[in-house]
């Protein structure tokens, strides 16, 4: 029983982290139409910058607030200088451009911070363990289980009820129309990309106390968030939530039941979903 509970918590904590990151990816795709290969690199940068800031101001909270903001700024620069030029083009160019950005960012992190491993400590408030029956479980992971939906809820409320949220959704649905009624779409795009980047970096900073930092830590994230986004439906908020939850749980319980086939779980999920529902659970025809 307690084993089941622990696996459940594991799946949820990873799933919620994945949800935040995938949310960024899916929002960017929904509004800008770009699938950002470098999203995983922003995740990694968020973690590294959090660590770096903590060297200057030894508080996890400063790291997690400032780090992602810096990365979001980088996202703004990238969007204005590079992505803007390929908006109208074939999707393969956009993928390749973001892939090139991934190459540059990943190697840059290795050059700046070195190839070795780095470690980030969770804040005192959230460190330590609590007991479930006879077993201990880290408090920080529980924090992840709660933080994910909270941030997600805040964003959802923003998109549903605030003026800016509605504008973003309008621009996502029909770009030309939105421009026609006077919305400054280019500015909006920059803002949305910055938001997406911030989400990835925030996810990275959240993940930092929980896994060791190394260059290429974005690799796993990018493939899994791609899968979540595609399975959940491109541009769909609830889709990202459902997809991330399902993937997280499958992976966690998969380690127990599937042995070495566990590696294939994300891809099998992807194939099955796409075969049954070609646009993902909640997706619409683009």
């Amino acid at each position: 029983m307690e084993s089941f509970l622990i696996n459940l918590l594991n799946g949820l904590s990873w799933g919620m982290l994945l949800f935040l990151i995938s949310l960024g990816l899916t929002t960017v795709f929904g509004v800008l139409g770009i699938l950002n290969f470098a999203h995983g690199s922003f995740f990694m940068l968020g973690a590294y910058l959090c660590m770096q800031i903590m060297h200057i101001m030894p508080s996890f909270w400063s790291g997690i607030i400032l780090g992602p903001l810096v990365v979001a700024l980088l996202g703004v620069v990238i969007e204005r200088m590079l992505l803007r030029r390929v908006y109208g083009r074939d999707i393969s160019f956009q993928l390749l451009l973001t892939f090139a950005i991934l190459l540059v960012l990943d190697d840059a992190v290795r050059i700046i911070w070195g190839p070795g491993y780095h470690v980030v400590e969770p804040p005192a408030l959230l460190s330590g363990v609590f007991t479930i029956f006879t077993r201990t479980y880290p408090v920080y992971r529980l924090f992840l289980v709660i933080a994910g939906p909270l941030v997600g809820l805040a964003l959802w409320l923003f998109f549903q009820f605030s003026r800016w949220g509605k504008i973003i959704r309008a621009a996502a649905m029909d770009r030309e129309m939105a421009e026609g009624i006077g919305i400054r779409v280019p500015l909006l795009f920059t803002a949305v990309f910055a938001l997406g980047t911030w989400l990835a970096a925030f996810g990275g900073a959240l993940a930092a106390p929980h896994q060791s930092l190394a260059p290429s830590m974005g690799e796993r994230i990018i493939i899994e968030s791609f899968i979540v986004v595609v399975c959940g439906g491109m541009g769909s908020f609830p889709g990202a939530f459902a997809g991330a939850l399902i993937l997280g749980l499958f992976e966690s319980f998969g380690t127990v039941f599937l042995g070495s086939a566990q590696m294939a779980v994300p891809y099998i999920l992807l194939a099955v979903v796409l075969l049954i529902r070609p646009y993902g659970f909640f997706g619409r025809e683009v």
Binding site: I91, L96, A100, L103
Partner: protein, 322 residues
Amino acid sequence: MATRRRGKNAITLSMALLALVACPFVLPIYWTMILTEILIMGLLAMSFNLLFGYTGLLSFGQAGFFGVGAYTTALFLSKIGSSLTVALLAALGTGAIAATVIGYLCVRRDEIYFAMITLGFGMMLYTVAHNWLDLTGGSDGMPLMNVPALNLLGREFSFFDPTVMYLFVLAVTALCIFFLWRVVCSPFGLMLTAIRENKQRLAFVGAGVQNLRLAAFVIAGALAGMAGGLFCLFNAMATPDILHWSFSSRPVLMTVLGGSGIFFGPLFGAAIFFGLKQVITSMTENWMVFLGIILVPVVVFFPHGILGSLIDWIRTRTTRTS
């Protein structure tokens, strides 16, 4: 008029082929080896371009078929002990079979979904290669313990000689590329281009769009498998990494570098890629950064690829009003 042009093209092609055949005798050994790699990856890229440039399908899973071909050759040569021809034809065959099964499931989807589902299937093949310890040797890959000798006209040539390996690879790739050329020029090939241009209209006219796409996918898969078989022979190994999605990005990269609109574009893209790699790695060990930095302007400013842009530029300089 047209025959004269075709005659000229045939002459230039023959000259190019002759130059390629002469290469190993004038270049240092190491460059011969690089050229061999360019040919193998070029074949993979050209098979990819059949789907991308001609049919309008972006496949992120070609590495899967490449890997299937490589492992097939490794298995046939190491565990079954068959001859070279059988092993390579088996690579072609398994590539085609895998592509038929996977293609049947994939071709219904469009654009980004097609890319994602091919990525997914490619990664599933990767997982099999990575985890099935008994069959594939697991994550360490499978070394080719007995590289066969080439039996030609009664004489035996060893593949350990880089020149022999190169010429063999050149012969096989030239054959495959010639086959590809015939496909592209045939009515079938024209239909593929029509699919890329306007899928709906084609469907209205009654052409079986899905079947055409599937056929293209199978051909691409078969050729990718053959390239994989050659790879296995050249490196004396098959490893799971060649099925990973990041390896699938290579033919995409090479095609974009070279230009997807020209038949030989991907092959030139492969040459550019390896040339760039050589130059960059001789100067620094941070080659990924520089590859990314170079790739960015290429993608942004050269939508027709480097070769494509070069040809456009030459064309604008030399147009005659007639």
